[in-house]
């Protein structure tokens, strides 16, 4: 299974990533892509920017581990994950997940599995910087906290 994980500040290029994945994916009939964008109106106050930080080294290793895990669950041939950090304006891309497989259901399942992981377990933290100058770190959702509790510590 081909797997490439990148955490970066800069934008990513969906078309370039799609071409690169297909080049290594072999005779894959199915490609599923998830792209996340910054929403501008999740809160009552308009968002100026979303600030993301992560744990360099640990983040990439953990995402790679979960991609390997996905490959044991579904017959997938290639995975690509790009996650951005830093300050991102509304509408900007945050995350890109691509999964190639011979089978569409495997590609869908693995992409959703990776996104669930990225949302609930990968070491990223978001801060909302609002248009009125205020800021707040985003609270983990209750369901995410329940998952987090099981990590111990």
């Amino acid at each position: 299974m081909h797997c490439l994980i990148t955490v970066q500040q800069g934008r990513f290029d969906l078309a370039a990533e799609e071409a690169a994945l297909r080049a290594v994916a072999g005779d894959a009939g199915a490609l599923v892509v998830f792209q996340g964008m910054v929403r501008g109106h999740d809160a009552a106050t308009p968002l100026a920017a979303l600030f993301l930080e992560h744990y360099p080294g640990v983040t990439e290793a953990e995402i790679g581990r979960i991609a390997d895990d996905a490959a044991t669950r579904w017959p997938i041939s290639a995975v690509r994950v790009v996650h951005r950090v830093g300050s991102l304006a509304p509408g900007e891309q945050i995350v890109l997940v691509l999964v190639a497989s011979a089978h569409r259901k495997a590609a869908f399942a693995a992409a959703e599995y990776l996104m669930d992981y990225l949302k609930t377990e990968a070491p990223f933290w978001k801060r909302e910087d609002f248009a009125d100058g205020s800021s707040r770190w985003v609270d983990a959702k209750a369901s995410d906290s329940a998952a987090a509790a099981s990590w111990g510590g």
Binding site: Y55, L118, K119, A122, K126, W137, V138, A140, W151, G152
Partner: protein
């Protein structure tokens, strides 16, 4: 022994620092957290057992109580909010 501690997300703001080097008598992860909580109410509150968080020792996610080696890098992670 000396260890390096990294704080992330809201813990940075709550504790007023992103990282520190700590001279410490040594022990396991539970002892380290107890020592940090002993620094005051802010620390006890921010690192309280009721608040879920994760420990990473030398870039490895750990579960439960684990030994902290001399010279270790220890990441203290609040609940994650990625994606």
């Amino acid at each position: 022994m000396s260890i390096r501690i990294l704080y992330f997300g809201r813990l940075k703001d709550a504790l007023g620092r992103g990282e520190e080097t700590l001279d410490w008598a040594g022990g396991d992860s539970a002892a380290l957290l107890a020592a940090l909580r002993g620094r005051g109410d802010d620390w006890a509150e921010a690192l309280s057992a009721g608040k879920v968080f994760r420990l990473v020792v030398n870039q490895q996610v750990v579960r439960g109580e684990v030994p902290i080696p001399d010279g270790a890098e220890v990441g203290i992670l609040p609940p994650v909010t990625g994606g």
